[in-house]
């Protein structure tokens, strides 16, 4: 019984210790407040939505896609992503961008778009026959 616990327990203890350490090193918080994101400047997953009115820009030669995002408080942030515009970007209801705030812009390494799963809002007009 003792050997089993020695070997087995040893592996578990060692790996759990390393795991806890690496967890603190690699964890990325979800952040919905841009004022925090802009102040702290560390890698986060910022959640918010695309500001349609400010449109977006695609720079093909440098492979840069940039747009503006806002958070629930109304803070605005420019997001720069080194990659292609996601397929369903224009119809997205909210976004999760991974990256950090540097020199006035948010540099994203990843964009996750969330789209409406069901038509939810009440439309305004009725059609006339």
């Amino acid at each position: 019984m003792k050997n089993k616990y020695l070997f087995g327990g040893g592996i578990i203890v060692v790996f759990m210790a390393v795991m806890i350490y690496l967890f603190t090193q690699t964890n990325v918080q979800y952040e919905s407040s841009f004022s925090k994101v802009m102040k702290e400047g560390k890698t986060v997953k910022a959640t918010g939505s695309w500001i349609k009115e400010k449109n977006y820009e695609i720079d093909i030669s440098n492979n840069i896609f940039s747009f503006y995002m806002k958070d629930p408080e109304g803070n605005v942030m420019k997001v720069i992503y080194h990659g292609t515009i996601p397929n369903n970007f224009e119809s997205s209801t909210s976004l999760v961008v991974t990256g950090k705030f540097l020199k006035g812009d948010f540099h994203a390494t990843d964009i996750l778009t969330k789209c409406p799963s069901k038509y939810q809002d009440q439309p305004v007009q009725q059609t006339n026959s």
């Binding site: 578990i12 690699t26 964890n27 979800y30 969330k114 809002d121 007009q125």
Partner: protein, 480 residues
């Protein structure tokens, strides 16, 4: 209507068979045949319901909300059939379907082995009953009609011949943002249509269609195989619990081994097929993206593979009347494989991972969330509680020393390495519950040393003998 009736009857038959099997286990005389009738009825009703759903999909019966939401009239037949499991309701029904099929085989298998059948089937029918609650009209039935809740259907999906009817004009809206026209579906529209003798299946002529990302050959293969793996994971749990019920631990590993092997192989195959599929799709992270849904099927598989090796040791050490090694380990691992499958279901279906995964199903609502928690907690209490209850007996009768240079210990250490990996993946995957995520480097950096350890142990365990190996002989053998 018929579908919901069949599923409700199946649930009732399922609960009936649980009770009958429990009474049989307790020693009542006439309940075994009743239990068998109950289980067979459950299985037949589930098969009938599944056939009905498939039929509704193939004949484009859009009066069913599920058929409207996930299928379309212009899909090729293979993909059309795969829409069966494209959404929550259908995928749970598929899991229920496989559980019923394997339950029938399990029933036959256990009936030929002494008093095994009631002890195993009581648990297995309980699992089946819980799954049936999930697909019942109360929760997530695929047979709910489209008019039962208010919804908006795009006019392009409606038969244009009916659109000019005066009675319908009050239901038509247009949306300024998207410039699309909709009709408001609900009880009122349904009443109006019925009053005008219009069948819903004639009225709605096109569905929302299958998500374009899923219109792929692998959609027809990967999910069904994955759900076989999930369905079979309940078998080792049932065998382990049967052993706990009888307080006898020698036979169950021999009886369960074919099932553990088959189930783990199928689950592993399904996971690898998923990786092969992901490799072909841009944005899915290559073969393996450490996505929460991918991870949550990996964790039970790792534990299942670990259990295969420790069960092998128990079987070997029991030969020729020897003592049984790793009895507690095998009970724990078999229980945990199924518990982790339930946990993975909870993680991926409750909406709790909302932001974190490309696999996210839509928000299922509070009732489903609570039910999944109850499902998970109940089986944790049964499984782990059972082990705790028998712990004193187990430690008194099954405590042995393993020699350092023995195959037993090498296999055990390998299993522990796999378990360490499963804990790591579990922790990383569950992090979003606490509002944080880990980067993929977390998984990669921790699993690499584990892979090395397993590699070393693989080679070593081939040279080590059972029980004891001479140090000198081992050293000689490991030279080139």
């Amino acid at each position: 209507m018929l579908g919901n009736i069949l599923l409700t009857l199946a649930l009732m038959a399922g609960v009936f068979s649980v009770i009958m099997y429990f009474l049989t286990y307790k020693g009542y005389q006439n309940t075994l045949s009743l239990a068998r009738i109950g289980f067979h009825s459950t299985a037949v009703l589930v098969i009938a319901s599944s056939a009905l759903l498939l039929y509704a999909i193939l004949t484009h019966q859009y009066q069913y909300k599920y058929v409207y939401n996930y299928s379309g009239s212009d899909l090729p037949i293979g993909l059309l059939m795969s829409t069966f499991y494209a959404g929550q309701e259908g995928s749970f029904l598929l899991w229920t379907f496989w559980t019923s099929i394997f339950g029938l085989i399990l029933l036959d298998y256990t009936s030929k082995r002494g008093d095994l059948e009631p002890r195993v089937m009581v648990t297995f029918s309980l699992v089946l009953s819980f799954l049936l609650v999930m697909v019942s009209p109360l929760l997530k039935s695929p047979f709910n009609f489209i008019w039962m809740e208010k919804d908006f259907i795009e006019l392009k999906n409606i038969n244009s011949a009916f659109l000019s009817l005066p009675a319908l004009q009050g239901f038509i809206f247009s949306d300024q943002q998207s410039n699309k026209q909709f009709i408001q579906m609900g009880k009122e529209l349904y009443a109006t249509l019925t009053a005008n003798n219009i069948l819903l299946s004639d009225f709605i002529v096109q569905g929302k269609g299958l998500n374009p990302l899923l219109q792929n050959f692998w959609m027809q293969i990967h999910p069904p195989i994955l759900f076989v793996g999930f369905a079979m994971s309940a078998v080792p749990f049932s065998f382990a619990f049967a052993a706990i019920l009888k307080n006898e631990y020698r036979d169950w590993v021999k009886q369960a081994m074919p099932w553990v092997l088959a189930g783990t192989c199928v689950l592993g195959l399904a996971i690898m097929l998923g990786g092969y599929w992901a490799y072909g799709i841009l944005g899915w992270g290559g073969y393996w993206g450490w996505d929460p849904v991918e991870n949550s099927s990996l964790v039970p598989w790792l534990v299942g593979v670990a259990s295969i090796h420790t069960i092998l040791v128990q079987k070997k050490t029991q030969e020729k009347g020897g003592g049984s090694r790793f009895v507690k380990t095998n009970l724990i691992l078999s229980i945990m494989t199924f518990v982790l499958v339930l946990y993975s279901t909870f993680l991926t279906r409750s909406g709790i991972l909302g932001d974190a995964s490309v696999h996210s199903f839509a928000e299922p609502g509070m009732a489903v969330y609570l039910f999944l928690i109850i499902f998970l907690l109940l089986f944790i209490v049964l499984g782990i509680g059972g082990i705790i209850y028998r712990w004193k007996f187990l430690t008194e009768h099954f405590s042995f020393e393993e020699n350092v240079l023995s195959r037993e210990l090498a296999l055990f250490t390998g299993s522990v390495a796999l378990i360490a990996s499963s804990i790591i993946v579990l922790v990383g995957t569950s992090a979003p519950i606490f509002g944080t995520t880990v980067q993929t480097s977390f998984y990669n950096e921790l699993n690499l040393p584990i892979a090395i350890i397993i590699g070393v142990l693989n080679g070593l365990s081939l040279m080590l003998k059972w029980k004891h190996t001479e140090g000198k002989q081992l050293w000689k053998q490991s030279q080139f």
